[in-house]
Every structure is written in C-alpha cells, then in structure tokens.
C-alpha cells in the first residue's frame, strides 16, 4: 500500500511538472515564462509553513508528554521546513532575477523568509549546543513555540507594513502586480499544492520511521 502511494505521488508530481511547464497557458503581467516557477515556489513556501506548524504541534506535545518520539517529530518537521523554505527562497530569487533583474532586492517578503531561515537554523544551533538529550528536547521545544509566535509578525505584518514587489495571488490583497488566475493555472497550482503536501507527508513519515528505528537500536544497545 505504502509503495503504491509513493508511486502515485511520483506520477502525480511528474504530471504537475509537465502540466506546469507545457499545459498551463501563459499568465498576463509576467516576463516570458517566469510565472511557471510559481507552480513550484508557492507549494514550497506552503509546505515550509505546514512543516513549521507540525513542528509547533510536536513541540507542544513534547512539553506535555516528554516523549522522545515527539521531539523526533519536531526535529524532522523543522528540518523539512528549513529545506522547503530554502527551496522557496532559491526559486523566489530565480523569479526575482527574471522579473525584476536582480536575484535579491531586500523586498519585505524576501527578508521575512530569510529571517525565517535564520530562526530555524538557530533552532538546530540550539539543539547541537545541548548535550543532554532530555534538556535538548525541552529547550528546543520551548524555542520552537516561542519562535512560532513571532512568525505571524514576520510573515504577515512586516511584508504588509512596507511596499512589496511580491505578486499577491489573493485578489482582495493590496499588491503592485495582480495575478490573474486562469482556471487552468489554478488547477495546476492546486495540483502542485496537493503534490507537495503529499511529498512532505512522505518525507516526514520516513524521518519519523528512521527516528523510531534509531531509538529502538539505542534501547537495544543500552
């Protein structure tokens, strides 16, 4: 069953790549084919936020249960969140180069995701700096919860205080460039969002299974 789902995910994502690059029509208001990166950039940013939310839930659970598995879940989610935030930053930079001529413009959105990367890189710096496993888990969980409460200010407030070049996919939002969502574009984007969410679930479950195996081996050795 698990293998079948993994294959289905692979085929789904391959379909998204083909549809995004070949089937989706050109979007108005963008330079050439630069908009096609949106099909990968937006889902990467979404998965990063999802992963940080999972990290928050696992961290709160750890503080309540003190279960090592919850700490492993929190660590796995943060690792994946960091990876997808990095990918979103790279794809966003490529889009910025194509659209505005510079890889980095210190746009509020660019700055906020950079700070998000620093916040979760610091999470791992904290984990590495504490030798005792239980103390490491509780300090990292506390930091994760504390960091998460500042995220809304970083991700939602700061980019809206300062003018941003970043296109807004939401029609009601105040943006310089309005993304006119063709039904086919919307379909590919939604399919990509579902595919990337599936990818996150698969990678996360692999990480948690690995943590379980390592914990079992440690128990056998001790």
């Amino acid at each position: 069953m698990r293998t079948a789902l993994t294959w289905l995910l692979g085929v789904w994502l391959a379909g998204v790549i083909v549809a995004g690059l070949l089937w989706a029509p050109a979007a108005a208001g963008f330079q050439g084919d630069s908009f096609r990166i949106v099909f990968f950039h937006v889902p990467q940013a979404w998965v990063a936020v999802l992963a940080f939310c999972v990290n928050l839930v696992a961290s709160i659970r750890y503080l309540r249960t003190r279960s090592a598995l919850d700490d492993s879940r929190a660590g796995a989610a943060a690792r994946l969140g960091l990876l997808f935030a990095l990918l979103a930053t790279i794809t966003g930079s490529i889009f910025a180069k194509l659209e505005w001529g510079m890889f980095w413009n210190w746009d509020p959105r660019e700055t906020s995701i950079l700070v998000l990367l620093l916040v979760y890189a610091a999470y791992f710096a904290l984990r590495q700096a504490v030798a005792d496993e239980e103390r490491r888990a509780s300090l990292a969980a506390a930091y994760a919860v504390f960091a998460f409460v500042t995220m809304p200010f970083l991700v939602f407030v700061v980019p809206r205080v300062y003018a941003s070049l970043h296109p807004d996919l939401v029609e009601a939002a105040e943006g310089v460039v309005r993304f006119r969502m063709d039904p086919r574009l919307r379909l590919v984007l939604l399919a990509s969002l579902a595919g990337f969410t599936g990818l996150f679930v698969w990678l996360y479950s692999l990480e948690v299974r690995l943590a379980r195996v390592l914990a079992a081996r440690r128990r056998e050795e001790s």
């Binding site: 503080l63 700070v115 620093l118 904290l126 239980e134 504390f146 970083l154």
Partner: protein, 229 residues
C-alpha cells in the same frame, strides 16, 4: 511559615540582581562600553553632516536601534548565564518560583536597557545632530521597545544558559526573533523624529506592544519548562 507572594519574590530577585550588578557592574559596563564604542565608530564615519537631509530621519533611527540592539546582546544574557557559571541556579530554583525568577530578571534587564537608553539616546542625538520633533513620542517608543526587547532577550538567555557556547548562541537565537521588533522600533523612532505629537508613533507603538504582549504571555507559559529541566 508565611508564603511570600509572586510580587515579593520577583522584587527580591530584582533586588538581588541590582545588588549584584552594583557590586561588580559587569553587565552595565559591557553594554555601556559596547554602545559608546559603536556610537563613536558611527559618529566618526558619518557624523552630523555625512547623510543627505532626506535620508537622515530613517538612517539615523535605524543606526540608533542597531547600536541599542547589538549593545544589549553584549550583556542581557548574563542574568541567567552567571547563575549557571557560578552554580547558583539550583539554589535559585529552590528559593523562588519560576515565574518570579523570570519576572525579576526581566525587570532587571528592562532597567538595564533603560539605563543604556538614558545614556545613549541623548548622546547619539547630540553627536549626530538628530533633532527630535516629538520627545514624548521617542520616549514612548524607547520604553515600549526596551520592554519588548527585554522580554525576548531574557527568555532566550534562559534557553541558552545551559548550552555550550552560550555567549555565541545568544545573538544567533535572539536576533532573528527580534527583527520584527527592530523594524517596528525603527519605524516609531523615525515617526517621532519627523512628526510632532503622538499620533505618528501610534502605529509603531501598537505593533511593538502587541509583539511584546504575545512574547510575554508565551514566555510566562514556557518558562517553567525551561527553568526546571
């Protein structure tokens, strides 16, 4: 035996911190000297005439907060790190409840920041030739910004106190968390510099207060887990 109140315990912790600081003046010296050195470096490079007139309110406000932020990084972690270094933390855990420890040390860090601001802000305005349109607005931004900065810095200090390489870890953990506050504080200072009255600084004050409120509540909820483990 009469059980002491949270306020009494917090004040006792604050008094202990003040007495300890007045005896050795480690944190105040570190923060103060860092601030003055940075201010001299900035003033030497830019001075009162080094910036275009239209850029002055924003750039000078940003430089002021950068000096305050980095100076605070030099000394605010000490409140918890010194307890671990001198092995007094276990006694403190027995002597006071966790919230009293957090509130007492937070109050100390806030007072330390206030002292820093009282010294640095007038000096900076004088040296850089920064005319402030709304002194009361600037004072409110400094008060609110100092309080919000002290909350995050004190909580992060508690987190890193028992980690190896804690002094290097403190700015790594604290600065990304403090960036939204830095943005709001710079916006508020710029407003106070450019506009008379309090109306211009209110949006920044709202942002700083909401950020400070959220981090205060979160710190109070999480601190017992951080302190006891």
């Amino acid at each position: 035996m009469k059980r002491s109140s949270l306020l009494a315990e917090s004040l006792a912790i604050l008094w202990k911190e003040l007495a300890s600081e007045l005896r050795r003046r480690v944190a105040l010296s570190a923060i103060g000297l860092f601030a003055v050195t940075t201010l001299v470096a900035v003033a030497y490079q830019i001075g009162p005439y080094g910036l275009a007139e239209q850029d002055r309110p924003f750039l000078l406000s940003a430089l002021l907060w950068i000096i305050l932020f980095f100076s605070s990084m030099a000394g605010l972690a000490r409140v918890f790190v010194k307890e671990e270094d001198s092995h007094t933390a276990p006694t403190l855990r027995l002597a006071a409840r966790p919230h009293a420890v957090l509130l007492g040390k937070l109050a100390f860090n806030f007072l330390l920041l206030l002292a820093l601001q009282v010294i640095v802000v007038p000096l900076y305005c004088g040296v850089m030739g920064l005319a402030v349109a709304s002194a009361s607005g600037l004072a409110l931004v400094m008060l609110a910004g100092g309080a919000a900065l002290a909350i995050t810095a004190t909580f992060v200090a508690a987190l890193i106190a028992r980690a190896s390489g804690s002094n290097a870890l403190f700015p790594i953990l604290a600065l990304p968390l403090l960036l939204p506050l830095l943005v709001a504080a710079i916006a508020g200072t710029r407003a106070a510099v450019g506009s008379p009255g309090l109306a211009a600084v209110l949006p920044a004050l709202r942002a700083i207060s909401s950020l400070g409120g959220v981090t205060m509540v979160t710190a109070l909820l999480l601190f017992p887990a951080v302190w006891r483990d």
